[in-house]
Symmetry: C2
């Protein structure tokens, strides 16, 4: 279980560069980098092992990216962008707050599954550097807007109001976000069933009726 992933022949092509372009694919690099960050932790991942996994050398990697932090930046931006567009789409709906909230919940589960490694990385960021702090700031902004939606749904009468909106939305997204810890696509539970199960547990609870 040492986790030796084979090098990714698709991201870089070594040699004299006589093969067809492109000799390097940023998306593929990012994918492998993010997978490595998630396995070993961002801080614990060195440029050397990253280059090794990418099937290239440290210097070659530095030629293409400014460093580890640029990879982190791009990865976090991708995850945040997708999540923010879920909020935006829900905001454009001509529906009550409860329906808009449910659409955000389902959308978040879908993004989480579709962008699993990227969102996983996002959820582990603590704010040690400027890049991380900016990601934390955008996450907080997202949480804030969800909380406003919960508040509106409570005012509407469709969500129970004995808990404050902040606590409610934190518990809600705590449950949703935890999905990255165990869900792997391709298992018995498919993406839509997962979204159904999650939203149903959140709204109706676990007690038998």
């Amino acid at each position: 279980m040492t986790g030796n992933t084979p090098p990714a022949a698709t991201a870089f092509r070594r040699g004299n560069g006589r093969t067809d372009r492109p000799p390097y694919d940023l998306d593929a690099v990012l994918e492998i980098a993010v997978a490595t960050f998630n396995e070993r932790g961002y801080e614990a991942t060195s440029i050397s092992v990253l280059a090794e996994r990418l099937g290239t050398s440290k210097s070659a990697l530095y030629y293409h990216v400014s460093g580890k932090e640029e990879l982190l930046q791009r990865a976090l931006d991708r995850a945040l962008g997708e999540l923010e567009s879920v909020l935006e789409a829900a905001g454009a709906l001509d529906a009550g707050a409860a329906d808009r909230l449910e659409s955000v919940l389902r959308g978040a589960v879908r993004v989480l599954v579709a962008e699993l490694p990227f969102v996983t990385l996002l959820l582990r960021v603590r704010g040690n550097t400027d890049v991380e702090r900016d990601a934390v700031r955008r996450r907080r902004e997202f949480d804030h807007r969800v909380s406003q939606l919960v508040h509106a749904a409570q005012a509407e009468g469709s969500l129970r109001a004995d808990l404050d909106a902040g606590t409610t939305s934190r518990l809600l997204f705590g449950m949703i976000n935890s999905i990255v810890e165990w869900y792997r696509p391709g298992g018995a539970l498919d993406d839509e069933a997962l979204a159904d199960a999650t939203v149903s547990v959140a709204l109706d609870g676990l007690r038998a009726r």
Copy 2:
């Protein structure tokens, strides 16, 4: 927001050792070490900064502990021990599965709050070293036993059975565990109110009735 915590005058007393014993307090060391691990990440925390925060030197710290990993080991053991004793206490109850499960949920929230930094650290461990792998193994064992309890409660008819026990308990503990990300004791919501709110959302859901 660089987060410069002042050195802990209580864990070590510098100088010629002419003060009253003990000149060093393992629990205090552990507390500060764990707080630092949680702030900056375990891997990203060096022995040097640890010693600095403890108000002592690298060598002095090494005199008392074998290294960073011993501190991690002790911290994880504390968190796991508390969680396991919650399961044990619930198992000894003369009650149905649903009541035993509810007691585990409440107990877990209480431990989580009482041992907040230790449980936080536990939940972030990924299994990179032997110490971490052993902690992950114990966590999985805990999850497995919770899942069995959920299964029993479903068989009893007190929990909805349209979701499998594994998914249910993962969502359940996903919500509970996420509390470490935002709850800080001493706020408007006290520990028991938090436990009530969490268990109530889990069992009854958020929809207004």
